[in-house]
Symmetry: C2
């Protein structure tokens, strides 16, 4: 539905993590990302050519994708100027922000006048059911994190890519705006009404072949007080057969919560497994994914080895080292 | 805002639990409830006079309150006929259903034509923040249940009534439609967008006097796969200093989930306390409330005594035996 290729709008991203939507598209659908648009003060860089709107248009870009998230999701006046110009120059807009494009009177008016589309992937387009807890056929894997933004989506995407390469049946199931912009469908879970969260995850991961795996995109963390309810709904709606623990070893406090330290992987394991077994008594923790982006090669290897020795579970950075060992652990379930 | 007194609409409630909205109003604001309206097949009874719309109008009723919940919240054709007639006879309507009165074209048209009000307390009227996890002054108590509908709201209301009677500072904080219909304000938590759930609970329970207690209305259960995410947001947004465990001893399976047994109180205690201490390391489990409505006096006493001996915590049915011991446990925190 969203016209490709994209120009990725990085705005005035305060740090690289804020641009994880753009990074995800660039990493998983590089053929869709032909350039980036950065404003003054932008601290993110996808390594793509910096383009003006006119340059991107000349290069064939069809849609300006807002690749940067603001906490709370506000569209600033400085952004607005770029977005209006983009519509006028013939781009569609796509966004996963809470603050919807369609709710901005000027964007809506210009889009209507120019005949361009506003894609708000944040907004659920389905009336989800209340979860019924019934057992479904097929298998499901969910990554749960010690914190938000520790690599849960990348873990699932790496595993899907590796499983498909090995001829296994696997589907990445997007639960956030980045995943939805990458794959074209999914559930924007953090925008779902509370009562229907677990039901939307059941809807996203229906009955399937007995040897098919859903790789469900994780969200939040059981230990992140702002978003833990969303994580809980994934665990109980997803009925995972396998859990992957995800961790970022250099994080000094929970993201956005300076007063909160990270839990130990042991605490995450015990908490997540106990909760998961409410919905699926056969659930197992099968491996650990470590986001080692901030470490050197030697440090990354040492970090994974230390965690593997301590936890007794296959431990890799699937983006850096490959997801093979995690996939083998899954196959052994 | 909602005009009193009420006629309580029980519809064709399939069982007494389905009419817990009406029961709550009758128990906690009996002066507002002058009669009940029941349809054929109704299996709920508030012990109030059965009235036609005309009789209730003559007795002074101003608002027809929908006191019965349907799973999924659908307004049937049979209900609709009564609601339209009520508007025509001069009643306002008030409802906590998911299916909003204002979304029904016929109800909306008749309400506009007759000048009557449609109150949908289900719908949030506030733009809630994302939770920031910061410590707030004052104290907070939350009831967490082994299942849904086990008496968490009644526990909080009983404790508030007892605390106020003792001259303590206490406020019941409503998080569901019944509580909101009873008290006139609160957060309709199960209708809040996922990302803002915990933030809405922070908003509901702001800084207060050091010796003031919020009695936060619980929702769902950590062990109920349909609604556990909502419970999680209450635990992390509410930052409770004290937890009460709530239980209904005759329940054979989780409400609405025939395949799911109830957790042991020990499992609820350990899980809820571990999670609560993420947000408030000083949190304690201070007592147990048992909904003994299905038991005889002797059975109720024996049940509470058995649980108290096993768990080592003050255990009462606060509605049947009074909330004094729970309030004393709270005062000792």
């Amino acid at each position: 539905m969203i016209q490709t290729p994209y120009l990725l709008f990085l705005g005035d991203a305060p740090d690289p993590l804020a641009a994880k939507v753009a990074q995800g598209i660039k990493d998983w659908r590089p053929e869709f990302a032909i350039g980036q648009f950065r404003m003054e003060g932008c601290r993110a860089d996808m390594g793509l050519p910096d383009m003006t709107l006119a340059e991107a248009k000349a290069a064939g870009a069809r849609t300006l994708v807002i690749g940067v998230a603001n906490r709370g999701g506000v569209i600033s006046a400085a952004w607005k100027k770029v977005l209006v110009t983009a519509l006028e120059e013939g781009f569609d807009l796509a966004s996963g922000l809470h603050n919807l494009l369609r709710d901005e009177p000027d964007l809506k008016a210009v889009a209507e006048a120019t005949g361009r589309a506003l894609h708000d992937v944040r907004v659920p387009s389905v009336k989800y059911p209340i979860a019924n807890g019934e057992k479904r056929s097929g298998k499901r894997c969910l990554a749960v994190g010690t914190d938000c933004s520790v690599g849960k989506m990348y873990t699932a995407l790496c595993m899907e890519r590796e499983m498909v390469a090995r001829g296994m049946k696997a589907s990445f199931r997007a639960t956030g705006q980045t995943g939805i912009l990458i794959t074209g469908d999914g559930v924007p879970l953090d925008a779902v009404i509370a009562d229907f969260m677990a039901g939307s995850v059941e809807w996203l991961t229906p009955d399937n072949d007995p040897d098919h795996w859903d790789l469900i995109e994780g969200q939040g963390s059981l230990f992140h007080v702002s978003y833990s309810g969303v994580t809980m709904a994934l665990i109980h709606g997803g009925q995972p057969d396998a859990l992957i623990l995800s961790h970022e070893p250099t994080r000094t406090h929970m993201r956005g919560l300076p007063g909160y330290g990270l839990p130990a992987l042991e605490d995450l394991r015990d908490m997540a497994l106990t909760l998961a077994r409410v919905a699926n008594p056969a659930c197992q923790v099968v491996g650990i994914s470590v986001n080692t982006a901030a470490l050197s090669d030697d440090e990354a290897r040492a970090c994974c080895a230390e965690i593997e020795a301590r936890m007794g579970l296959p431990t890799v950075d699937p983006y850096r080292h490959g997801a093979g060992r995690l996939v083998e652990a899954l196959a052994a379930v």
